[in-house]
């Protein structure tokens, strides 16, 4: 337990000491919210979609979590580069604890950023239904855990920083665009709808939209299940990679 706690604490301390990171991570969601929200809002309304900010805000919250979580995971590459990872690897602790501690730390930071973006979206006109907020919080945590675990697992076998933009372009961006965060994927053409079915973020976006914007718990069980199971699989996978890792 101590190991997981100290790894978690370390991530939080590092985050707290880097205000630039906080500002930067909120900037992008804000830009999306304002540019898309006010730009596409009237068109969305004309097309019969209703209030666009109400539709968009949960998607942007999910986006900010996705980016923050993946980025935290990728920080493991940083630790490799700065040599600190070796300090953890020669320590008499189980590789699962290393994986779990890192994931928990990154996920906490990502969830916190999700909250900040929720606050900002409310300033931009989003009115969430607070009665289902506890469910939304669990969803945010699950999305955070899933993508931090994914990023960490990837980082265990990636050696150089140049791979980082590649991961962002070929994994994070498609995950985001085809998640239903910006436009509804359910009613769209067959291809996009079926991609959304295998896109874990789509379940997170759907869940957040249902609980926060629509005030309904429909499909929530499936969303929890998909996100939860995938997180467990990724944690196991990451643990395995840490075991195999040679420094």
């Amino acid at each position: 337990m101590g190991t997981i706690y100290i790894l978690w604490l370390r991530q939080l301390k590092k985050y707290k000491r880097s205000p630039a990171r906080m500002v930067a991570s909120v900037g992008q969601p804000l830009l999306f919210l304002l540019a898309l929200g006010f730009g596409f809002g009237p068109i969305f309304q004309k097309a019969g979609g209703g209030n666009y900010i109400q539709f968009l805000a949960p998607g942007i919250i999910a986006m900010s979590i996705l980016f923050a979580a993946m980025f935290s995971g990728i920080e493991t590459i940083w630790d490799k580069r700065f040599g600190f990872l070796k300090e953890t690897l020669v320590a008499p602790v189980s590789r699962f604890q290393i994986m779990a501690g890192r994931t928990l730390g990154g996920a906490t930071v990502a969830t916190f950023q999700g909250f900040v973006v929720l606050g900002i979206s409310m300033l931009a006109g989003f009115s969430p239904s607070f009665s289902l907020l506890p469910f939304a919080i669990i969803l945010m945590l699950l999305i955070s855990l899933l993508f931090t675990a994914l990023g960490t697992a990837i980082a265990t076998f990636v050696e150089d920083m140049q791979a980082f933009p590649l991961i962002m372009n070929f994994l994070v961006m498609p995950t985001f665009f085809l998640s239903g965060a910006l436009f509804p994927v359910v009613g769209s053409s067959g291809a996009i709808a079926s991609i959304a079915k295998v896109n874990p973020l789509a379940y997170g976006v759907e869940g957040l939209r249902n609980t926060l914007a629509l005030g309904t718990t429909s499909n929530l069980a499936i969303d929890f299940l998909v996100l939860g199971l995938l997180t467990i699989v990724l944690l196991a996978l990451g643990t395995y990679f840490f075991k195999k890792m040679e420094a």
């Binding site: 101590g2 190991t3 706690y5 100290i6 590092k14 490799k80 580069r81 600190f84 008499p92 920083m161």
Partner: protein, 264 residues
Amino acid sequence: MTNIIEVKNLTKKFKELTAVNNISFQVKKGEIFAFLGPNGAGKSTTIKMLTTLLAPTSGSIYVNNYSPQENQDEVRHSFGIVFQDPSLDDDLTALENMEFHGVLYQIPKKLRKERTKELLEFVELWERKNDLVKTFSGGMKRRLEIARGLLHHPKILFLDEPTLGLDPQTRNHIWSYIKDLNKKEGITIFFTTHYMDEADQTASKIAIIDKGEIIANGTTTELKEKTKTDSLENAFIALTGHEIREETASGVDKLREQRKMWRR
């Protein structure tokens, strides 16, 4: 005296490259053991295998009577290590780096606090305990790493080029500390260095490795007699030759190069 490290027919191959080729050696408990060799000779690879970071291709290793392959945690509890490259978290304070290590090694809180104070005072960093490590000089970081490596009272301390890039004052300071530690606490020291005078003055036993094979083994006097030279440096050259070695950089090494460029 018993052997605290026993290596038998150890081999490590990376694809077609044989980094360590069928080496055997023993380190006695309480010894100061110098592991010398030119760049790329296989020193760091051997240390990595001894410290559970790398799996051997073949051969057997016993560290404190445990196998790094089968009893990883027991081996990990037995040693402390100062790596060739820095391994501190620059964004944490000296105290936080120690704290992190102490928790990882399951040292009870009270004991952890006592030892941290004792060790940081010893390496003369107690005054700077709440400063971020990124504000430290190279020598201070080294001292902190040594203090950290000793926090869990290991039986063996591995030092991979601990004095690389340090000024003579700091080098002296670190060595007198290490020798003291060896004498008082009986900690076995296993170190590598390119400074032959360090090995000459401190090591009770020396092994020289070249191209993955151990080519000489003995006390500094024995090595000098064997090669009919008057200094360890000359003995080393006589044994390993004059040719300059190329070290192939691994992926991680390349990363460290980039890091040097990235950071101001």
